[in-house]
């Protein structure tokens, strides 16, 4: 490790253009500071990772009967069964959110970049960015006060009555609307601005010449978008979707406020039996937890960390591909 860094130092100063003694000092100080800041990042992250693993270990090594609900009486199910439904719920909620938000995100990005009048489109872009920054607790409150009751009253029963033969829509509709469908919708609304903002950015960067060439060849607007804009923006859309997925996976307060959780594997969207998500479960259980329960929750946090890490690295891969 230390030899690596010495190597780096040599390489850094190697491409230094300065010659005077005074300047050299300035350069050394400045490059040292910036490298120091980089090391702070490494140390911080190592700290977070070490702490997570250190605090999670007791749960991973403990007797399975002590982990999970009923663990304090020795009736627990063990860590893997406990975290299993949580991982399932986390991924399931995010998949629902993503499958709603991506088509809409692309459509809105296209609307802003290629359909709306120029002046309106700048304002809309600004509004979308703003929406991405609305705190999640606000979305959560809105979800439980406004969306959940409205959907449970007007929309879910219709799907349940007419499309109940599809497993997703079967079961008894939960009257309060605290179901996976509502969570998926709220998460979709939350990540929509992220996906839209990034997609719009890449759509706007489509080389003007490509677009004009397509139009000059007599393409309709949609054909021009299909030929010139979408292929160019594809990787951007994917990395936007990945970022949105990352946010959906880690979203805490909105899910905790809305969802009616139960430790189950279920694809049903409208019922009271919904798998919880990792982050929401931590927020709900942490305050009243002691001892091994805390370790268990931190271990689930570690699992969540691993999942979001995977998603982020993938997204970075894709967006790097775009730059290259």
């Amino acid at each position: 490790m230390s030899t690596d860094i010495t190597d780096d130092i040599n390489r850094d100063t190697g491409d230094d253009f300065a010659s005077g003694q005074v300047n050299r000092v300035g350069d050394r100080v400045f490059s040292g500071m910036s490298r120091g800041a980089g090391l702070v990042i490494l140390v911080t992250l190592a700290g977070v990772a070490l702490f997570l693993i250190w605090r999670a270990l007791p749960a991973l090594t403990a007797d399975p009967s002590e982990i999970g609900p009923g663990g304090s009486e020795g009736n627990g199910s063990g860590f893997l069964p406990y975290v299993g439904t949580l991982v399932f719920g986390t991924v399931w909620a995010s998949v629902i959110a993503l499958s709603i938000a991506v088509p809409f995100g692309i459509a809105i990005a296209l609307f802003i970049s290629h359909y709306a009048p120029r002046r309106l489109s700048r304002t809309l872009g600004y509004v979308i960015d703003l929406l991405a920054a609305i705190p999640s607790v606000v979305y959560g409150l809105w979800g439980i006060f406004v969306l959940a009751p409205a959907m449970a009253k007007h929309v879910y029963p219709w799907f349940n009555d007419h499309l109940g033969f599809i497993p997703f829509f079967s079961g008894k509709v939960l009257a309060s609307g605290r179901s996976m469908a509502t969570v998926g919708l709220v998460l979709a609304v939350m990540i929509l601005p992220i996906i839209t903002a990034i997609s719009r950015e890449v759509f706007l960067q489509t080389p003007r010449l490509n677009e004009e060439a397509a139009l000059a060849l007599g393409a309709t607007r949609w054909e021009m978008i299909r030929i010139a804009v979408l292929p160019y923006g594809r990787s951007g859309v994917i990395s936007g979707a990945m970022l949105g997925l990352g946010r959906a996976l880690g979203e805490t307060m909105a899910v905790a406020l809305i969802l009616a959780p139960a430790n189950v594997y279920s694809f049903k969207l409208f019922t009271s039996q919904n798998p919880n998500t990792i982050a929401a479960n931590i927020a709900l259980q942490f305050p009243e937890s002691t001892g091994l329960e805390v370790n268990t929750l931190i271990a689930t946090g570690l699992v969540l960390f691993a999942i979001t890490l995977f998603v982020n690295v993938m997204s970075r891969r894709v967006s790097r591909g775009r730059v290259a």
Partner: protein, 359 residues
Amino acid sequence: MSVSVAHLTSDEMVAHHFDSPPLARRATAAIAGASMVIAVVLSALMGGVAPARVLAIGAVVYALSIYVVSRRVEGRRRGFDRLVTTLVTGAFLLVTIPLVSVIWTTIDRGSARFDSAFFTETMRGVVGAGGGAKHAIIGTLIITGLAALMSVPIGILVAIYLVEYGRRNRLSSMITTMVDVMTGIPSIVAGLFAYSLFAVFQGPGARSGLAGAVALTVLMTPVVVRATEEMLRLVPNDLREAAFALGVPKWKTIVKVVLPTAIGGILTGITLAIARVIGETAPLLIACGLAQDTNLNPLSGRMTTLPVMSYYGYVAPGFPPEAGYDRGWAAALVLIIIVLALFTVARVIAKVLQPKGLR
């Protein structure tokens, strides 16, 4: 139509393209009107003419009929183009519903307590109705300010290292990876980290504004690094090379040439990063606790922020609960206004400091 096509922008070309089709504006309006009539009839048959239902059915009928009509009159390709246009516009209109609803709900419910007392009073000694969010507003400013104070210099320096010094060496690729990893830290995990870090020094039960600021710093730094990195990479290499050719030392080039060129974008990125973390709730619940009174000392004692106050307004509204709900919504409203203000600031900065020739 004598204008030479070469002078037209693509927007104008699209417009130009669309002025000519045989399907006139009047015809589309007629189809829209007919769709709405059909929608009213259909929804009456389905059991009730609710405005939402009529609009939903009408939109579907319109999309289908404009496609069919246009396909017959203008041909297959134009027909499909119109269908896509309708779908894209429809998607946009549909999405505005929840987004407008979020904002409207917050304004509507938040305005009940959006009075002067809300900004001048704290929750000390308040039971039931009354009280205010002065302590939470101050707490938000202190904690977010400290987080910015820590993450901005580190973030900018890291970005400078990545772009200017450590081009593709092992340390820089390691840092890039780690910044990615940090971006993925769920906020509640950052809170757990900050809490236990301070628990080492101050013993268990340590709650302080600084702990919250550390949690936010963990979340904010990678955002600042990425935004700054992006902006620094946009600075043309010609500028750097010109400075080097004049014998300007590298650090001076960075400070006097590169940073000023990118400063607009960097400041915008920082402002947006602040706007993102200012609404964090989960980590502060764990790291800062809940206080009823103003606490100006971030080193010790609990400190409340607006999102936390908003959350507690819902989960622990007191008795009777209405007053607590009202305060929670008002706190959410103030938070949204702050975010809005930050965005406006970012936009102004971007405009004022935007270097000519870029973008």
